[in-house]
């Protein structure tokens, strides 16, 4: 595992903890830094990171704190507090 991937991994944990402590702007900083590291090192982000960060306001999404997760017909809808919707398919 390269340093870049490890940094992303740790930023993932930090962003999660920041949201749990209601430090939303701090979690945004971590998410933005992780994305920047991923693009500079061309290593991508883990799927969990992509799915639980808001593409519009960059906050880390923690269901029950700042995200709403609903299943619909064949897809999950994750709604951020800023209003952004993300849909992911699932196999039933």
């Amino acid at each position: 595992m390269s340093i870049a991937e490890e940094r992303i991994d740790r930023l993932h944990t930090l962003a999660k903890q920041a949201v749990a402590a209601r430090e939303f702007d701090r979690s945004r900083e971590y998410v933005r830094l992780a994305r920047r590291i991923a693009e500079r090192n061309r290593c991508g982000l883990p799927r969990e990171f992509k799915r639980f960060s808001c593409p519009r306001c960059d906050v880390y999404l923690r269901p029950g704190v700042n995200a709403r997760v609903r299943t619909q017909d064949g897809h999950v809808v994750v709604t951020c507090d800023c209003g952004e919707l993300k849909r992911y398919p699932y196999q039933s």
């Binding site: 390269s2 944990t13 701090r26 090192n41």
Partner: protein, 166 residues
């Protein structure tokens, strides 16, 4: 490539426990806590009371690395009062072996002509002095000259530390 004293300058600093050993501003000396935000020239250190912003340039920082996952140990710098004697003892050993102060003055001499992100690595260990304390359980203290960290946080993985370019 785990977080070791050798890879510290290229690794993630957010979430690490740090103590400011020396700084250009004497009011900043002695701040201990966790790094919460890193910018190109500063570190924001949460000392449990408020978030202090410490310039990297001119500062000497002592990071405490735990062998496990440092981000899961909550609380600030691991018991500063208890560690005082131990770090002093480690500093004494460091002075005896590696002459940290001489190296600091070297880097300070080179610093004015240097741009923000390129750094020179002195051939011997370039300023990072890991001090492994025998009696303490898996906590390694790494002293870093803040000028080594002068880089954009996202770029530090690529160009801090071991560049061969002068």
């Amino acid at each position: 490539m785990a977080l070791t004293p050798e890879t510290l300058t290229r690794h993630e600093l957010n979430g690490l426990s740090v103590r400011v050993v020396d700084a250009g501003n004497p009011d900043l000396v002695g701040i201990a806590g966790r790094v919460v935000i890193e910018t190109m020239q500063t570190l924001h250190i949460d000392d449990g009371d408020r978030v202090r912003q410490v310039p990297k340039r001119g500062a000497t920082l002592e990071f405490a690395l735990t062998a496990g996952e440092p981000e899961f140990t909550d609380g600030g710098y691991p018991s500063p009062s208890m560690n005082r004697s131990r770090t002093d003892e480690a500093a004494g050993r460091r002075k005896a072996s590696g002459s940290t102060f001489k190296r600091e003055s070297e880097t300070a001499g080179v610093l004015p002509g240097q741009s923000g992100s390129t750094r020179k690595g002195s051939p011997d260990g370039d300023g990072r002095t890991p001090s492994r304390t025998g009696d303490c359980e898996d906590v390694v203290y790494v002293t870093v000259d803040g000028a080594q960290l002068l880089s954009r946080p996202a770029h530090r993985t690529e160009n801090a530390g071991d560049s061969k370019w002068r």
